[in-house]
């Protein structure tokens, strides 16, 4: 797959690459459909309900029906909204969500672009989504959307700092920002063991980046009606929802690669193909998301910021320090 990018451009390999991207899009859409289904099922089970069970066998077509309904809805726009920005915002939110998937190595061969700075690319691109959210909040010309949008911007920018800081530990250990090399460096032991502190910080910060419980303040249903997308309906609203779940896909893939050893098998079980391992670890993270959502209440807005700056960031910095010291000692920097 990767060598397709290196070849000289011809109609054939451009078509092939576009086709591969469409396949990835379909896979992601399928994931989103059934992630929502399982989210509702798992949360239902945890709340002693049975979850969706009416549409199709076992309710499997529930999300399909929901999406069909969304697409058929009228595309409303508030009268005093900023027309251009209002239309641009969902695109701005969704495009980077799909863009980050380009550098994710699903196995050692299935990867779209083998960037040397894969981690940086992911973090940088995912920052653009904040812009989409804030644009949506502003363009809607509604106080609830604006509050939601600004909260979201504050939250996502603040939590990006500990997120990046927690990844630095992994980058230090590997000596590379290439996602493939990061996975291959975990041959002996997955990063979750030596980088456990970093893993915890990453987990919490990722939760805030994804705007999911307990950090779902931007769309706090009970306080802000729905946050930045109150005024959106139909297709545009579906784009925001899609962006959110595609980010969950991306973040699940990233945490699998950075800390859970990507496609590497548990020693002794290497006869199972790498992609299965990847999906297994990835599903574990996604399940954890649903589990957390069924357990946690929402954080208070004033606690949110202080938790990021006074709680997570020092821990992340400490993790970097410890990692740096240990690596220096291993390299013998303190002897000569």
């Amino acid at each position: 797959m990767a060598n397709l990018l290196q070849q000289t451009t011809s109609l054939w390999n451009v078509t092939m690459f576009a086709l591969a991207a469409v396949v990835l899009l379909l896979v992601v859409l399928g994931f989103v459909t059934y992630a929502i289904y399982f989210e509702r099922k798992v949360i239902g089970w945890m709340q002693l309900r049975i979850g969706p069970n009416r549409v199709g066998p076992l309710g499997l077509l529930q999300t399909v029906a929901d999406v069909a309904k969304l697409l058929m809805k009228e595309d409303t726009r508030p009268q005093n909204a900023d027309k251009a920005l209002f239309a641009l915002a969902p695109v701005l939110a969704y495009a980077p969500a799909f863009g980050v998937l380009a550098v994710i190595p699903f196995t050692d061969s299935i990867q779209f672009a083998d960037l040397g700075i894969g981690v940086l690319y992911y973090i940088a691109l995912s920052g653009i989504t904040v812009l989409g959210v804030i644009t949506a909040g502003w363009a809607s010309n509604n106080k609830y959307s604006l509050i939601g949008g600004l909260r979201s911007a504050a939250q996502m920018i603040s939590y990006e700092v500990p997120l990046v800081m927690s990844v630095v530990g992994v980058v230090l250990m590997t000596g590379s920002m290439n996602l493939r090399e990061i996975v291959e460096a975990q041959k002996d032991v997955w990063n979750i063991v030596p980088q456990f502190l970093g893993f915890l910080v990453f987990l919490v910060a990722a939760q805030a980046e994804l705007n999911r419980t307990p950090f779902d303040l931007p769309e706090a249903e009970s306080e802000l009606v729905a946050g930045y997308h109150v005024e959106y309906s139909g297709f545009r609203f579906a784009m925001f929802m899609l962006a959110e779940y595609v980010y969950m896909f991306g973040m699940g893939a990233l945490v699998t690669i950075l800390f859970l050893g990507g496609w590497l098998p548990i020693p002794g079980l290497s006869f199972i193909p790498g992609i299965v391992w990847f999906i297994l670890k990835f599903s574990l993270y996604v399940f954890f998301q649903f589990w957390l959502r069924a357990t946690m209440p929402r954080l208070r807005a004033d606690q949110l910021m202080s938790f990021a700056w006074k709680g997570l960031l020092p821990v992340a910095l400490l993790n970097i320090l410890i990692t740096a010291v240990v690596i220096s000692v291993q390299n013998g920097s303190f002897h000569s």
């Binding site: 089970w45 945890m46 002693l48 357990t295």
Partner: protein
Amino acid sequence: MLGFAKGLGYTFKQLSAKKVTHFYPDVPFPMPPRFRGIQHFSPEKCIVCNQCARICPTECIQLTGKPHPDPEKKGKIIDTYDINFEICILCDLCTEVCPTEAIVMTNNFELAAYSRDELFKNLQWLDDNNTNVREEN
């Protein structure tokens, strides 16, 4: 930190716990024995005393009687008996006042209909509504 683990452990246990969902439209919902549902009317017991129609607070019961077909016997028998369930409040007064228990409550309660006309139940319908009749009236 321990609280987080505790909470997560609790929700995880709930995952396989017995669900409390009732499968209501698929499986009938058992109502408590004194539930006030749609009335059952047995014409052979009725003595056309009109008490039910008079006590009804919403005046939703209309009935007419006719002379007994056997000329030897006194009194009347019921001819038509209609309850308008658009306004019936299922207050139980008609069944309480009935001296012969000709009108009694059942545990049936499904009255949803597409047309208001369907809510106008006649003698035949109320006679046939003889399932889940309440034991004590």
